[in-house]
């Protein structure tokens, strides 16, 4: 997936309030699906489905913990939202600075 598509997937995943709630709960540390399902107003299968979307968007990852799997925030995922904007502005401002350098040379 390109960086732009990764960012779009992350944005779409965060548009859902239940998924934002799951992310908020995961900020406190890794949790199993069952733990996450308690305290959110949707069924456990629905929580699994939301987690699958968050995982596909690069926002969470699942890791083995003994015989079960726990979910945690993927530290690389949240940055995807702003990574391509950051790149774009870096590129644009670099060219802006170079443009002024060039003007200066032209007027010497």
């Amino acid at each position: 997936m390109s960086r732009k598509n990764t960012a779009a997937a992350a944005l779409a995943a965060l548009a859902d309030p239940t998924r934002r709630q799951l992310i908020e709960r995961l900020k406190a540390g890794p949790k199993a699906v069952g733990d996450l399902a308690r305290g959110v107003p949707v069924s456990r299968p629905a929580v699994s489905q939301h987690l699958a979307v968050l995982k596909a968007a690069g926002l969470v990852r699942d890791v083995a913990a003994g015989t079960r799997r726990v979910y945690e925030i993927d530290p690389k995922g949240l940055g995807a939202i702003r990574a391509w904007l950051d790149d774009m502005w870096g590129d644009a401002l670099g060219r802006f600075g170079a443009e002024l350098d060039k003007e200066k040379d032209d007027t010497v």
């Binding site: 997937a9 944005l11 940055g79 802006f96």
Partner: protein, 162 residues
């Protein structure tokens, strides 16, 4: 309701440019088309210019080779040559969306007669997630499994926008 939100950090950049404050401000706001990377465009037609109308409320848009104009946003604050604040109204899917407003602020400060410090910030990036356009892009690009979730996502985005 105090709903949880995800707030990406603002994008901040500082650079020193070799020009006085007035020239720096003018080059940024009046000649964006001469330095804007052509790879970053939302128009179908190749970009020939990027225009910021020099007043509060002015438009910010690109002009294509075929004469078409594509909105990017508008001027929120116009204070030459010290500061300009722009509304970036492109959403997470690179589509113009007047309801989606993130802010771009640029401050120009004299270091000496020959140099200006340019401080750049693009903020409120969390607002990029409060619309369904990114979902539409995913639909268009055929991202697997998203069709089932489409209704739910749009409903969520509408709730978030209230």
């Amino acid at each position: 309701m105090n709903s949880p939100t995800i707030s990406p950090a603002p994008i901040r950049k500082t650079l020193l440019v070799k020009a006085d404050v007035q020239r720096s401000f003018t080059a940024f706001t009046n000649r964006m088309g001469s330095w804007w990377p052509r790879s970053h465009s939302i128009a179908a037609s190749p970009t020939v210019d990027v225009i910021i109308e020099p007043r509060a409320g002015g438009r910010w848009y690109e002009r294509g080779e075929d004469g078409s104009e594509s909105e990017w946003g508008k001027v929120l604050h116009w204070d030459p040559p010290a500061r300009v604040i722009l509304a970036w109204q492109l959403d997470g899917g690179w589509k113009y969306n007047p309801a989606c407003v993130t802010e771009v602020e640029i401050n120009f400060t004299a270091v000496d007669a020959m140099q200006t410090r340019v401080e750049f910030e693009h903020r409120h990036l969390e607002r990029l997630g409060e619309n369904a356009a990114a979902v539409r892009e995913l639909l268009n690009s055929g991202w697997g499994g998203i069709l089932e979730l489409y209704g739910k996502l749009v409903a969520g985005a509408e709730d978030a926008a209230k």
